[in-house]
């Protein structure tokens, strides 16, 4: 039995407020620095278009937030994108009706997620090791199906969704993300479902004893995570207008970074949608700004990794120091 520390509710709230405030300050700082470094940053069209770089990941980050708050993790999301994109391309090539194509794509993602959830709950295996396995299994299925070929024909609606704008201004992917974020913030912070997810993350055993169907919740969360990966797959395939089996490679890391940087505790039980949304903007604006400054993608990778470790390491280091002084 591992020890689960009690958390005094008042202090927790204080820290949460602080976290989001700090994140907000970081975001503003990045915006100011970026707009001073390059004149192209504050261009409205540029800013709107920059959301294309992170909207798909951000959509998955929402369900990933739920998964991590419930003390689980899902490393297979990027591989589910690969599976769903292949399904999207394949069903299109068979000449199916557009709505059937989209339904089957969504179904494939949900099924992959449900597969994760079933193994994790049925055999009581840690999600990290199960999803390491399904990460190669799903990606491998995409590879074995598509081999070294690719799909580049999709229904018109998919291409529109991927790269189109509502009223000529708001990208559909970004709009979807914002609407979903509102829904998810409501579910997590204002409903009993959200409360139950928090209590599962804080202490799964206690949650089980109070009558919460922990396994059912876990299963549904993983299925939802798969479904959202399929939604992201539709936007991404539409935007790239080509699908290869290596699509979205390494995204699981970036998505988890979004969530963890947003103040969601990696061992579950605390976090907020607002924090995650701000951290998504931080990472998005950061890579957009660095891109404008001609910093290569690699620089952004290193920076993201450092940010991930420091965002957790620094506060906990300060906490340890403070405890020692007391």
């Amino acid at each position: 039995m591992s020890m689960i520390p009690d958390k005094p509710p008042f202090k927790l709230l204080d820290i949460l407020y602080k976290k989001e405030f700090i994140l907000f300050v970081v975001l503003i700082t990045i915006l100011i620095i970026n707009s001073n470094l390059t004149p192209y940053f504050l261009d409205l069209y540029n800013l709107i278009d920059s959301t294309f770089l992170f909207s798909e990941k951000a959509i998955i980050a929402l369900t990933m937030t739920f998964v991590i708050i419930a003390r689980q993790i899902d490393l297979s999301v990027a591989s589910i994108i690969a599976v769903s994109s292949v399904v999207l391309g394949y069903t299109t090539s068979l000449g199916y009706d557009t709505w059937l194509v989209i339904s089957l794509t969504l179904l494939s993602g949900a099924l992959c997620g449900a597969f994760n959830g079933a193994i994790i709950t049925k055999f009581a295996i840690p999600s990290i090791i199960v999803t390491i396995g399904t990460m190669s299994l799903f990606r491998g299925l995409a590879y074995s199906f598509l081999e070294d070929s690719y799909y580049n024909k999709f229904p018109k609606i998919v291409s529109n969704l991927g790269s189109g704008y509502l009223f000529g201004y708001i990208p559909y992917a970004f709009l979807t993300f914002i609407l979903l974020a509102l829904v998810f913030a409501f579910i997590l912070h204002k409903t009993t479902v959200g409360k139950k997810i928090f209590s599962i993350g804080n202490n799964p055993d206690a949650a089980q004893y109070t009558g919460i169907a922990v396994d059912k919740y876990t299963f549904v969360l993983f299925t939802l995570n798969g479904l959202f990966s399929a939604i992201a797959a539709i936007f991404l395939s539409g935007r790239l207008s080509s699908v290869r089996p290596n699509i979205a490679f390494g995204w699981e890391l970036e998505i988890i970074t979004m969530v963890v940087l947003g103040g969601v505790y990696i061992y579950g039980g605390s976090g907020s949608i607002l924090g995650v949304v701000i951290s998504i903007f931080i990472l998005g604006m950061l890579s957009f700004g660095l891109g404008l400054l001609n910093v290569p993608g690699v620089g952004i990778i290193i920076f993201t990794g450092l940010l991930l470790i420091l965002s957790i390491g620094f506060p906990s280091f300060v906490r340890t120091l403070r405890r020692k002084n007391e």
Partner: protein, 322 residues
């Protein structure tokens, strides 16, 4: 308990043997001594990395950064060898191990002292170390003709018609076997993984062991950095990408429990051998290389399900006896 574990290793050994015979029937060329020695050589790096990953998994952690560590150490010594080809090969090996250990210690410090969970730390360093390769090499490759002869020669030394790589894997096996089974360090690792709270109460310094486990993992990643670069005579930003998953699957297939504290050194080696056999056998029985990833994923899942089932059954029998 010991009987079951020995049994498990025996079963794994039988599976490998049956698989070998099966592939032999489909393609007799596969079971010639030459071909088998090739498979062993090809699996040696996996064996070494699986053994060092086992040390980390024993204390309920995972090191996802090994492949990036390997690639970064390998790239750094390759770059040095293009500038200073006159240096002896032992110098490069030592340096590679040193760089690897340093990167491993960084992981350990982040986990033990900064208290960043291992999964976050090693996912982070996985991309940081990989990113640094682009940074130091400018995205360029070091090709075989740029290495000194001395640098590449060691890997082709043979003893009893088996390769240097194979004998090195045997040596690492013996060292880690002794370390885990006949030293206080090994015993403490098992007890930390089996029950961290109890281990702390009897005075085992958890942080020290975390840092040591990750340094060892880093050390062997560094060693394999040299081995990989020398074996394939190329250093690039892409080498060993995703190999950490193969290493972890070798451990899981070998019966090392991700819940910590359970697993044998022999099982770990057999797990690596089985994975190595599958990787090499697929082309021999005409299965496209594109299936490889899916098959290894399925094998990992199958192995962990079987592992957990047997562990859970064991728990039940203990409870009945009480």
């Amino acid at each position: 308990m010991k009987k079951i574990l020995i049994n498990r290793d025996f079963i794994l050994f039988s599976i490998i043997l049956i698989g070998l015979i099966g592939v032999g029937f489909a393609n007799p060329l596969f079971i010639t001594p030459k071909s088998i020695s090739d498979v062993l050589t090809d699996t040696s790096i996996l064996i070494i990395l699986a053994l060092s990953q086992m040390i980390v998994i024993l204390i309920r952690a995972i090191d996802l950064s090994v492949a990036s560590n390997l690639a970064l150490s390998g790239m750094l010594i390759s770059l040095l060898s293009t500038v200073h080809p006159e240096l002896p090969v032992y110098y490069f090996i030592a340096l590679s191990c040193l760089i690897g250990t340093f990167l491993g210690v960084l992981n350990g410090i982040s986990i033990a002292i900064l208290k960043v969970p291992f999964i976050v730390t090693t996912l982070g360093t996985l991309s940081i170390y990989r990113g640094l390769i682009y940074f130091v090499s400018d995205g360029k490759q070091v090709y075989s003709n740029e290495f000194s002869e001395d640098f590449l020669a060691l890997i082709h030394v043979k003893f009893l018609s088996l390769s240097f790589l194979f004998w090195l894997a045997v040596a690492v096996f013996i060292v880690i076997y002794i370390l885990l089974n006949h030293t206080r360090f090994g015993r403490n690792l098992y007890s930390l993984g089996g029950n961290p709270d109890a281990a702390k109460y009897i005075g085992i310094n958890e942080n020290k062991y975390i840092i040591m486990a990750y340094s060892l993992s880093g050390f062997f990643a560094g060693l394999c950095g040299y081995l990989w670069v020398a074996r394939y005579s190329v250093a690039s930003t892409q080498i060993a990408i995703g190999f950490e998953l193969t290493v972890i699957s070798a451990c899981v297939v070998g019966g090392i429990s991700v819940m910590g504290g359970v697993g044998t050194v022999l099982g770990c080696v057999l797990g690596a051998l089985l994975i190595g056999l599958i990787r090499n056998a697929l082309p021999a029985v005409d299965i496209s290389q594109f299936w490889q990833l899916a098959i290894s994923g399925a094998i990992i899942l199958l192995a962990i399900i079987i592992n957990t089932k047997t562990e859970q059954r064991k728990e039940k029998t203990i409870m009945v006896e009480n």
